[in-house]
């Protein structure tokens, strides 16, 4: 995975020109709202993916990277809007540069442009997974289980497993439909044969018992089995005469079966149920509307596969689309139940219609044999029309289109006289000779038996195909489920461990459970020993934010493991209190020592905590003081403050230099006081006077250096004792100068006449404050020195380890050991 060495932003979003050099280390930007922090996050995402998730999703209709990614004044020149990043690939240890312009966001320029660097960039694709924003943080803990499953699988790059499972399920459904149709065809053909043979079941014995008497009548040898497909021998005399012959009794039975099918109670019941449900919808137009949109959202969710809506083609991220459709489906739950009821009745009606169609077939054939061609044609047209109507029962639009016909859905009353005529014609058929009757009987039996065999083969084939589809789908589901179970056990453990490290004081027994189940991923967390609940049930918003962050980090660690080298956190701790923010700093630093975090925040205290904990070097901390449309963010850092003051003085602008110095003190004195654990009078608003803070810091450092010098002597470390005493002496010398000069700062800011200082007058003031600050800094890393641990401190040290005073004296035992060594 990559890390950022440098990022250069030009005319992009709210930034005119900005260069930041994280140099592969964690980097933090602090500033008030609308100071341009998130533009840096956007720039990183854009450089890596060519995409901007901020311009996609809810409420972003009409927005796009190509039209709105550039600075507002650069809209006519998108080529001038660009982001360049110098990146380091941790595995190959190679450095490469990527530059992406707004005029061609999908065509990044790489230097060097090699297959390896292209492949590296392709890993990111359109994903923005390395970035966690405030907006996204809740999505892992507070979304519905189906959406969580999608989000988590996307993040874990397991989405192909889900999509393959869906494809297998869809194939299985189609095979199921085919097998059901084949089953109905077989049943119908078997009924036809049974009616003709007048047997209760189609066992070989029953069939042979029905046909053999007829064969004997014809002087043929009785069949011993059903090996032969024909029940008449090929050379039977007079066989040709039976062609077109009608077996009267069978014909009457077929006619009766058809009539019964057209007046079946199932037909009436199913039609009536649909009509009644549609009336409910008539009385509630909103429900009707929701029912229609429910189907639409179901379709949208099923078809959503790319970053544009499958229904209207508007650009939206896939993740947003799925969340949107899932939410809409939940909102129209009642409509979903109505849709289900209609679908069930429609299925019943369709089945009954299919039965009518199947039973009409022998009647059509019969009419043809009896030369009733006009009736035969009319019946064919009617059944074909019924089949078409019944096909419309598959969806609500179709049902609505034929709504008026539902009351008398199967209506063959127009053929009543023809059917009656057919019946009479059959009745009037002359008695056949016994021989001819036997031959006709066996001919029709052979036809129907052949048809049963054919349908049976088709049904078996369909069933076998369905068996395969079911086996394949079930096996894939079981195997992936088992694998995902293992994966989620690992994620939930990391998640719970991370969360416990943040909330160990009150939730030391916290556990979590991720439960995957066919397209769902349920998350339950332990709540103070009272049981497992969804995260949103009882935990506070701050705890939910912690969970979102921990789950995200656990998932990222699962995806990248040791290769997790870059994570961008955009203002993610809004609801977390300051003690837990410090714990977050420690978590990020200690659990992910090789990961570069790019962090933005508007919280000054967290920004400072990142530095005191050592997550961020001071030189990698930037403050975005303000922002303007013409110039973008006004950036400063601790080192640059003195340069800024010098610049003001060079220009003769003493008031601005003084104001900058004052703001600097307001920012750093609380940090120094915190690092040393300096004692101040309690204030509810936490706003301490600068003089009070200065004194508290001075007193605390002096006390600590005394402790360090005394301890060093006891440890027989004379160099260290000397160093502590030197620093103590420096501090003591500086304080009177500091006190003397500090009055000028306030006076100059308030433009007091007596304090009309020129540059030369103000230089000693600046020097006094510089010297004072330096006493509290490590001379090497420039970080504030701090007492550690915060309670029962044992050391005075910095983050780099160069400044390192022990402040506890050796125990009697340690002293004895020292004596022996000495």
């Amino acid at each position: 995975m990559i890390q950022i060495e440098e990022i250069k932003i030009e005319n992009f979003r709210g930034i005119r020109e900005l260069t930041l050099q994280p140099n592969r280390k964690s980097f933090a930007i602090q500033g008030p709202n609308a100071s341009g922090k998130s533009c840096v996050v956007d720039a990183i995402e854009f450089a890596l993916t060519g995409n901007l998730s901020r311009l996609a999703g809810d409420g972003t209709a009409g927005l796009s990277v190509g039209s709105h990614g550039m600075h507002v004044d650069s809209r006519k020149n998108p080529a001038a809007s660009k982001v360049s990043m110098r990146l380091y690939h941790s595995r190959s240890k190679e450095v490469f540069t990527i530059t992406r312009c707004l005029d061609k966001p999908s065509q990044p320029k790489l230097k060097p442009d090699t297959p390896a660097t292209r492949a590296l960039l392709a890993q990111f694709g359109r994903r923005d997974e390395i970035t966690l924003t405030r907006r996204q943080i809740a999505k892992y803990v507070l979304v519905q289980a189906t959406q969580r499953s999608t989000d988590v699988q996307n993040l874990l790059r397991l989405d192909c497993i889900g999509s393959i499972r869906k494809t297998m399920a869809s194939a299985e459904r189609k095979c199921q439909t085919n097998a059901a149709t084949a089953g109905k065809e077989l049943k119908s053909s078997a009924e036809l044969l049974q009616r003709h043979l007048q047997v209760d079941s189609l066992t070989p014995d029953a069939i042979l018992a029905a046909i053999n008497p007829k064969r004997i009548q014809l002087g043929l040898v009785p069949l011993g089995d059903l090996e032969s497909i024909s029940f008449l021998d090929p050379d039977t005399q007079g066989l040709e005469q039976t062609s077109g012959h009608v077996v009267r009794l069978t014909a009457l039975r077929d006619l009766q079966a058809f009539r019964e099918a057209t007046s079946s109670p199932e037909l009436a019941r199913a039609s009536q149920a649909i009509v009644q449900t549609l009336r409910v919808l008539d009385l509630d137009p909103k429900l009707n509307l929701k029912l229609r949109s429910h189907k639409l959202f179901e379709l949208g969710l099923e078809l959503a596969e790319e970053d544009s809506c499958p229904l209207c083609e508007s650009p939206r991220s896939l993740e947003e689309l799925r969340a949107h459709f899932t939410k809409k489906l939940e909102q129209s739950k009642r409509a979903g139940q109505i849709a289900k009821a209609i679908a069930e009745s429609a299925n019943e009606l369709r089945d009954a219609c299919f039965d009518v169609v199947l039973k009409a077939r022998p009647i059509v054939e019969l009419a043809k044999r009896l030369k009733l061609d006009e009736f035969s044609l009319k019946l064919e047209i009617s059944t074909s029309s019924l089949q078409s109507k019944s096909d419309l029962l598959h969806n609500l639009d179709g049902i609505s289109a034929i709504r008026e016909q539902l009351v008398s859905f199967v209506d063959f009353s127009g053929l009543d006289s023809d059917l009656a005529h057919l019946g009479r014609t059959i009745e009037r058929l002359p008695d056949q000779s016994a021989t001819l009757e036997a031959m006709s009987f066996l001919t029709l039996a052979s036809e129907r038996f052949t048809n049963v065999c054919k349908r049976q083969a088709e049904q078996k084939r369909s069933q076998k195909i369905l068996d395969r589809a079911q086996f394949v789908h079930r096996t894939y589901s079981d195997v992936s489920q088992a694998e995902l179970e293992t994966l989620y056990r690992s994620v939930e453990k990391t998640f719970a461990d991370a969360y416990r490290s943040l909330h160990h004081e009150d939730e030391s027994t916290f556990t979590a459970r991720l439960t995957p189940d066919e397209g769902r991923l349920d998350l339950d967390v332990e709540f103070f020993g009272r049981g497992m609940f969804p995260p949103g049930a009882y935990h506070s918003e701050g705890h939910q934010d912690s969970m979102g962050l921990c789950l995200y980090l656990a998932l990222m660690q699962q995806v990248f493991g040791d290769e997790l080298r870059l994570v961008v956190l955009d203002d993610v701790v809004m609801s977390v209190d300051s003690s837990h923010r410090r714990a977050i700093c420690e978590l990020l630093k200690n659990w992910f020592p090789d990961t570069q975090f790019i962090i933005t925040t508007h919280e000054e205290i967290w920004f400072y905590q990142m530095q005191t904990v050592g997550l961020i070097d001071r030189k990698n901390a930037r403050i975005f003081q303000s922002w303007s449309v013409d110039h973008g963010p006004v950036v400063s850092d601790a080192v640059e403050t003195w340069s800024q003051i010098d610049a003001f003085l060079t220009a003769g602008n003493v008031p601005s230099a003084s104001l900058t110095l004052r703001r600097h003190l307001e920012r750093v004195l609380p940090q120094i006081a915190d690092a040393l654990g300096a004692e101040t009078s309690f204030r509810l608003d936490n706003k301490h006077d600068l003089g009070e803070l200065k004194t508290a810091c001075y007193v605390r450092l002096k006390e600590t250096l005394h402790q360090a010098a005394a301890a060093a002597k006891e440890w027989a470390d004379l160099d260290m004792a000397l160093a502590a005493e030197d620093l103590l002496q420096t501090l003591t010398n500086i304080i009177p100068e500091y006190d003397k000069e500090s009055k000028y700062v306030t006076a100059t800011i308030h433009d007091n006449a007596w304090a009309k200082l020129v540059k030369q007058d103000f230089l000693p003031v600046v020097q006094a404050f510089k010297d004072f600050s330096a006493c509290f800094q490590c001379p090497r890393c420039k970080d504030w020195i701090k007492r550690t641990p915060r309670q029962s401190s044992k050391k005075l040290e910095c983050n780099c380890g160069f400044t390192n005073f022990a402040i506890t004296k050796p125990s009697a035992e340690q002293k004895a050991t020292l004596g022996k060594v000495g």
Partner: protein
């Protein structure tokens, strides 16, 4: 490191092995292996074709 690509590959390997282990369905293993390799373009129709075309000899006679 738990690479998720490995997880997908593991799922597919275990799945194909299960198919192979079952004599009634083992003939599906080769065509399914090819189909899984083109996971992004996999469609239900492609699967049904596999279910229909494999092991034709074992399909029932027309009686």
């Amino acid at each position: 490191m738990s690479d998720s690509k490995d997880i997908t590959a593991r799922v597919h390997a275990a799945f194909l092995q299960e198919i192979l282990n079952n004599p009634s369905y083992s003939e599906l293993e080769i065509p399914l292996r090819s189909l899984l390799a083109s996971e992004s373009t996999m469609k239900p129709e492609g699967l049904i074709k596999i279910y229909e075309q494999t092991n034709v000899n074992q399909l029932p006679e027309s009686k």
